[in-house]
Structure formats: C-alpha cells, structure tokens
Assembly symmetry: C2
Homo-oligomer: 294 residues x 2
C-alpha cells in the first residue's frame, strides 16, 4: 500500500498485487497509529482515544540524507518503503555503516541521548519515510503500558541487533560474515513480502565491505567464491540463493590451498576432455549466464 511510486523496489515481489491505485502516482501522506504499529510489528490492538495521532510521510530520492550526524534531534523515523544506510563517522573521519534500514525498521534512536543524532541516514533508493516526533513517541507510551513496553522493546531489539553485529565482527571469519549478511537480507526480504531467494542488493560492494569490516575487493571475492561453490548465483547486484542452509551454517570455506587444488583438478579434468559429473559441487555459472540460457 502506498508505495506504487517506488519502482526499483526489488525483483519478484512475492505478492504481485499490482498496487491498489495502479496508474496513480499519488502516495499516502499520513498514517495513523494502527498503520505505524503494524509496520513496526508491535501490538496495535488496545489503545485509547484511537485516532488522534497522525504521522506524516516524506519522500527521499537515492543519495539524499534523512538526517546528518550532529543535527538536532527531534524525530524518529520508520521506513515505509525503500532502502537506506545508517552511517557513523568517528573522530578520525572513518565511516562505518551500522545498518541497512528497510520497510518496518525504526531509526534515529541514537539521537535521544544527547539530543543530537550521532549517525547519519542516507537513502540508497527512493524511500517513503514516516516521521515520528519523539515527544509523541513518549506520549504514546504513557497512554498504555502495553505500548510503553513495546517501545522500550523496540530500543532493546535494536540493542540486541547491534550486539549481534559486534559478535559478528569480533568472532566470525570473513566468509561467515558475508554468508550471514546474505542470510539476514534473505530473511528480511521474506518478512516484508519479497522473495528471499532472488533479490537485488540495494548497496554497493564498497558498502557491503564497509558494513562487514572488510574491503570492497574482499567482499567481491567472497561473493565470487560462494558463486564458484554453487551456494549462490551472483551477477552485479542480483543475487540468487541456491543453498540457504549452507550459508546459515558456514563458518569458514575450505582452506584456500584445498580450494586451489580442487580448481586445478577441475581444470586438469576439463583439459583432459571430460567432466567429473559427480564431484563438481555446482555449476560455476553466473546468474547472467543462467538467464541467457533461459
């Protein structure tokens, strides 16, 4: 609902509901409590005086900033549709991507403490964002203990997500990080009604690498390695996941020496004029080649 204008959304929406108002370029300007609670996946049922709250939508185009670091805080934001990145910049000027908010995600929370945002949020695609004035956010909590707990819960959820991120950066191999990144994207896409198997990456290799604490080259190489192993097919921004379970349980790839030997074996076999037909872990075709075949 209301995102018909966001065209580049993603491949293969699971529910191909061609947008209620098909030809219309108009989009929703206001949401009520009920809509926002649904988006955030918190109980919207019981709340009192049920329609005196209205929340404004704002549209952003790719590259635009929703807020910048140091800017005075007064709003929280909920993504209605589109993709963003949240970036922290440290005292040396290092940029670190903290998250890729998408539909249903809340951001801007980091501004509460010092009344200034400590991170900046940038649209990666066209976005439709709902504004939640912080004063209203707190007021809503006061109206209803269930909602209040839900609001604390939202912040706690974000805290847990970041703890998982710390654990990932601190204790996982690069391959495991990239695998987990893909699994996470897959699950989040599924949760908002897109395909979890075939999707387009909303971000560049540089952004993926930055997010995962590696260089863009390493990010690219790791995706290529997964492609070689047949776990995924990747071509530029498009991803197809062949073996989600392998990605979920992957800790580290076979040592590179073994990988190289395996490649050499395959190469030698190919040179000898036959294909092992059996041991080959998977066709090492790129998605484009697959599509060309189709």
């Amino acid at each position: 609902m209301s995102c018909a204008n966001i065209l580049e959304s993603n491949t293969a929406p699971a529910t191909p509901s061609r947008a209620a108002a098909s030809g219309s370029r108009t989009h929703k300007i206001w949401s009520n409590m009920h809509d926002v609670c649904n988006l955030l996946r918190i109980p919207s049922a019981t709340f009192i005086g049920d329609d005196d709250h209205h929340f404004q939508h704002v549209q952003f185009k790719a590259g635009q900033r929703i807020h910048t670091a140091g800017q005075a805080f007064d709003m929280l934001y909920v993504v209605n549709c589109g993709f963003l990145k949240s970036v922290m910049i440290d005292e040396f000027g290092n940029e670190q991507i903290l998250s890729f908010p998408m539909k249903g995600d809340l951001f801007g929370i980091d501004g509460i403490h010092t009344k200034k945002y400590t991170s900046e949020a940038v649209a990666l695609s066209s976005c439709d964002i709902i504004l939640i004035p912080f004063s209203k956010f707190a007021a809503i909590g006061r109206t209803n203990p269930v909602l209040e707990t839900a609001l604390y819960g939202l912040m706690s959820r974000e805290l847990i997500r970041e703890q998982g991120m710390i654990t990932m950066l601190g204790s996982l191999t690069v391959e495991a990080r990239v695998a987990r990144f893909l699994v996470s994207l897959s699950e989040r896409f599924s949760a908002i009604g897109y395909s979890g198997k075939a999707f387009n990456l909303p971000m560049t290799r540089r952004e993926i690498g930055n997010y995962l604490g590696v260089t863009l080259e390493t990010a690219s190489r790791t995706l290529s390695a997964f492609n070689e192993l047949g776990l995924i097919s990747v071509d530029q921004r498009s991803i197809y996941i062949h073996d989600l379970n392998a990605l979920k349980t992957l800790r580290r790839l076979p040592p590179s020496r073994a990988r190289i030997e395996q490649q050499e074996k395959r190469a030698a076999a190919a040179a000898a004029g036959y294909l092992p037909t059996q041991q080959q872990p998977a066709p090492s075709t790129t998605m484009r080649e697959q599509m060309a075949v189709v």
Copy 2:
C-alpha cells in the same frame, strides 16, 4: 560509600576517604531513588512522592553470574561497585565480550525485547549490584517526563556505545583498538574517582583480546609494543599511562619493518658501547622495575 568491603578495588583511589564506616564489614542493603539516579548520572532533583522507591543490593564474588543467556528477564542492574563482563554467545558457541560494566553502569537492557536475557553477565571481582525491577523502571518513567526521557536516554546511550564499538571493530587497526581501550578505561576510572593514570586491569589478556576482536597473544604483544614505545608501562595487570594524548590520536604504529630497524639500531648502538641518549623514545622499563627503583 558502602563499598568498604570490596578490597581489591583498584590502585590509588583519588579520594582516599577511608570508607565512612571504616572497620565495618556491613554494606548498604537498600538504595533510594536519589542514590540510584546519582549513580546513573541522571537528574534526580524533581520527582514526586520522593521516597516510596527502594532498591535492593546484592553481592557477587568473582566468577559468579548475575544472569545467564536465556534466563527469564525481570530485572535491570546497576553496578554500585566492582567489575563485570557482559558476554554474548552466538549460535556457533562463539563468545563475544560486549562490555565491562563498572560503577554507575546499567546492564540487563537486552532482556526487555524478548523477555529473556540474550547475554550473560559475570563478575570479574567482588561486586555490589543494585536490582531494578523492570516494572518499577517503567513506572518511574510515568511519574515524571524528565525522568522518562532520561530512561530512554540511558538506552540510547548504550546504543551509541555499541555503535562506537562496531565502528572500532570495523575500521580501526589493532593498535588503535588497544589504545582506545586503554583511553576508555582511563576515562571511566577517572569518572568514578580512581586514578586515570595508574590502575589495574580487571580482566585477563584473553578477555581484552576477545573484547577487541583479536587473540590474547596479539593483545599482549600490542601492550608490550606500547610499553617499548614508552606510551605506557605495563606489568601483568598493572598499567601506568605515560602519554594519554598519544594513545588518543594513535591510528597505527610505525610499520613493523621500521620498528625492527629502530630496535636493531638501538641494539647496535648498545653493542657499540654507548647510548644515543637522545633518540631513545623512552625507557623500556616495566612498571615493576620502576617500582623497584622507587
């Protein structure tokens, strides 16, 4: 106040107030709102019905768990004194230390979202912990908008801290991480009345390494390198900071090749029978040697 029984606290308390009830082994069992707000550094001035809230203290010895991952959530905790670690364990069994709570720090927040703690908290020393039932926490917020904002602010503060941690793990060199770790400890010790220049590490090298995303050997070697450079003196758990500013601005050490050449130069000079007296960056004495001299 009230922590006279915690003996191993730390070296050189800045305020040598020999504990109000000096010989007494008794410690405070209850704190009121005012005490807790002071500990947390949030405004305690204006709140209504000012003494119907009392919070229980509990003591833990080194090694004991305050809560474990998966345990049902109902409490938040505030450290009155002592040192702890907060540890997350991921689905592979990897342990990642998320923080080292000390006096004035709030922990247990991660339990709010799913009503189960996702991390565990372990005492590194004798600890005196104040229990804050979550229901009471929320109720307090409802009594006073200023306090309510302060409570959201506490969670936001923790979120920002974790974002800084992610940025550190994702974009800093190992040396910069260790340097920042020392600076952070120094500042936190200062804030709670200990010396920020001379202190004892409450945690092992393994725990430091785990926290910073490196092995214990790398943590140890990096501390030794800082010692060689004269930035700090380190001997086992005791730290003396010689050049806090250098630690604050350090991004990376001179490349190891240059360091080795420098060492060789010094060694050659020493073999030749004289000391450069000038270029020597600092005496490479350990703290123990320094103390022995005194």
